[in-house]
């Protein structure tokens, strides 16, 4: 399965990099969608089917469209007014910090003994039924909190975005 893992993560990394560096925001978004697909692919690889489907449904189905609407509403697609570079003020600081962090992470992972860990025992089928049961038995409290959170986010987003609509 190595090949599949390598190709998938290569695509994903490429998607992420492009999402960060492209000037045209819509192209950025497309790269982001590729990245989300990569993540979903990995979930399928790791036998977390339900999560993969949820990822596609939520991220590609909803969040991507949400970001697209936001881009549309703020009207400056190219991300750079008048061709000035799309990078912020102290961009080199950001890049330096991130790359050093990445380097440190890789070193620590290599040194720790988890690196050679191999998966054991494939999980049994019927994961979905299992998740369903868990959601309403052990995890019912987080589920309710999540419901409250989502509604709050929904109402909040609407209120903020259209706050001054009524005054007009």
């Amino acid at each position: 399965m190595n090949i599949v893992f390598l190709t998938l993560s290569a695509i994903m990394v490429l998607g992420a990099v492009l999402a960060v560096t492209l000037r045209n925001l819509v192209h950025c978004l497309l790269a982001l969608v590729v990245f989300f697909l990569g993540i979903a692919g990995h979930f399928f690889l790791l036998k977390a089917d339900f999560l993969g489907a949820a990822q596609i449904l939520i991220y590609i189905g909803a969040v991507a469209v949400l970001i697209l609407f936001a881009i549309m509403l703020t009207r400056n697609i190219s991300g750079t007014e008048g061709g000035r570079s799309s990078l912020g003020g102290a961009w080199w600081l950001g890049v330096g910090l991130a790359s050093s962090l990445a380097g440190m992470m890789c070193v620590f992972v290599r040194r720790s003994e988890l690196v050679t860990k191999l998966p054991y025992g494939a999980t049994e089928e019927g994961v979905v039924k299992e998740i369903g049961k868990l959601l309403v038995t052990d995890w019912v409290v987080p589920l309710e909190i999540m419901a409250v959170l989502l509604t709050a986010a929904l109402i909040g987003a609407v209120v903020i975005a259209l706050e001054e609509e009524k005054k007009r």
């Binding site: 509403l73 001054e164 007009r168």
Partner: protein, 373 residues
Amino acid sequence: MSATGIIQTQTLEVSLGPQHPSTHGVFRMDVVLDGEYVVKLKPVMGYLHRNHEQLAEKMTWLGSMPYTDRLDYFCSMTNNWAYALAVEKMTGLKVPERAEYIRVIMAELTRLLNHSCAIGFLLSDCGAWFTPVLYALREREWILDFFETVSGARMMCNYMRFGGVRVDLDDASLAMARNIVARWPAFLDEFEKLMTENEVLLARTQRVGILSRNLAINASVSGPVARASGVEYDIRKVDKYGVYDRFDFGVPVGEAGDTFDRYMIRILEMREAVKILEQALRDIPAGPFIAPEAKLRNFKVPAGDGYGRIEAPKGELGFYLVSEGGAKPYRYHVRPPSFINLTILEDMCLGQKVADTVIILGSVDIVLGEVDR
């Protein structure tokens, strides 16, 4: 972005341009949209202007008769009749009985043809995939075949002459006409069953594009569009030209004046037209089909002016002619119903959605040949 900095949804300036699938010909509407709603609508015409009235001043009186076919190319017979009526009014030519009956038959058949196609196009604007139009066209084919048998051409009939008609209706064509009229009620029932109670259509057309009664009167709108808004004005009843006073037929009048009323008025008018046709075909007298003293060439109209008008399927079609007594008219002006019905298009479309402007235009039923002349 307006000054107050709030989200001002940019108004979208769209031109439902001359090349557009549902503007019934080359006609443009400059629409300013706020989201889906119409804020401003400016009709732009003139793409099909062929200088008809100037040409007529260079041709003999008979010469511009074939050009009247090209005015409202859907109803060439009624155009001919209006022109012939105007000239007969000025010259005092007496039209024989049989010719009057033939003219009524031809005019009413044209009304059937025009109304059925108008509704068909209105419904295909609403989105019904051409099914109603093709049912209407199936019946229209029969009428066009009848016109071709009689006058020689399907749409450009050039059939009427000053003082009568060019070719007589022999028995075979009379039988053909009776057969057409016999088929028509069945077609209307099928059409109504297909569309009239359709909830989607009701939702799309009721309370859409409302034309108030006094706006219709002030803007001198005529024809089914005016009658749908409650204006009881039908020139067949007012002027009683031709032999219309011999037939008993009703003139449907609506109240709400929205697109659905205009649709229903046209269906009811078709049923009335079938009644007239049955009576006319029943008691058409024998006799000459053109006034004997009508001269074909070197036809001169005594000096003076005259205005002849008829109830064309789209409204009041009038011809205002000024003659110096020569073989050519001095001034030749057409009063087209479509053009004048178009002037109130903006008032009907304000506040409606883009999808509705198209339907309202369809319900007004314009033909660009007549609008631009």
